[in-house]
Amino acid sequence: MLFIRQAEARDASLLVTMTHEFAEFERLPVKVSEQDLLRDGFGPSPKFQMLITEWNGDPAGYAMYFNFYSSFEGRAGIYLEDVYVRRQHRGKGIGKAVMVHLAQIALKENYCGVRWQVLDWNTPAIEFYRKLGAESLDDRRVFSLHGDAMLRVAGGATGR
């Protein structure tokens, strides 16, 4: 049976393990530690919220989200950064249950919606989101500025 609960500080080690599993699946680098999650998620001003899914008491996956702001809507929304189900627990409707849970939070809190990103090679995930009725923001491209390039651009503002 499936159970979805809010993650707590005592889950930090489990969450780090599952984050690493998820990064491996997404073929992405990962360096998060337990201290990072404790500091940023379970301190006085949490930067994110996490859900843990359990299948018959066994940790089956997690979701991490935070608020974004839609200036066009004039309302906050849920930005779903991670949603992960462990391999051995796939095909049981757990991912769907997480999306339902988040959609319910969004409506209850009067948020404008739920937004997320997906890797374009992850066809099963894209199909899954399409079936939920999600709008694919096909005309959007995502950028990131970090490291040296960020410093260089920042220098333009401060004269460094």
């Binding site: 984050t19 200036s71 404008c112 739920v114 009725g133 950028f143 990131s144 500025l145």
Partner: protein
């Protein structure tokens, strides 16, 4: 001459106007319902959901940037999400966009964010070229998605 300053409560009407101008430029005016009250409540109340910068050219409002925090579980760090950046069409070609962008990058650096992230509409070629020149990494394999309106209610199990 250009000045860039943090937006305050008194800027709520101006910010609302500028957001509607950006929406028109992005051909999303029909979806844009933000009001001055929304901006006051969500940007300048006890728990601000975003921060904004105002650019002025010879004392005249020329554009704005709006951003908030995001979180990367894989990095275990907070990042800055730039939701909007806009320069009024009649004031372009003065380097205002670049200066505004550089100020946001400087905030990203000075406040210890690990990166800044944003999205761009794929038909906005001048913007894409501009970001490339700045050294931004183009996250080609990510697609954005959103659950909003009736599909959101459907997933939540609420009747429209």
């Amino acid at each position: 001459m250009l000045t860039i300053r943090a937006a305050g409560q008194a800027d709520a009407p101006l910010l609302t106007t500028l957001i509607h101008e950006l929406a028109e430029f992005e051909r999303l005016a029909h979806e844009t319902i933000v009001t001055e009250e929304d901006i006051l409540r969500d940007g300048f109340g006890p728990h601000p959901r975003f921060r904004a910068l105002i650019a002025e050219w010879d004392g005249q409002p020329a554009g704005y940037a709006l951003y908030f925090d995001f979180y990367s579980t894989f990095q275990g760090r907070v990042g800055l999400f730039l939701e909007d950046i806009f320069v009024r069409p009649q004031l372009r070609k003065h380097g205002i966009g670049k200066a505004l962008f550089a100020r946001v990058a400087a905030i990203t650096w000075e406040e210890g964010y690990f990166c800044m992230r944003w999205e761009v509409l794929d038909w906005n070629t001048p913007a894409i070229d501009f970001y490339r020149q700045l050294g931004a990494e183009f996250l080609d394999d990510w697609k954005s998605a959103m659950l909003i309106g009736e599909p959101l209610q459907a997933v939540a199990g609420v009747k429209a």
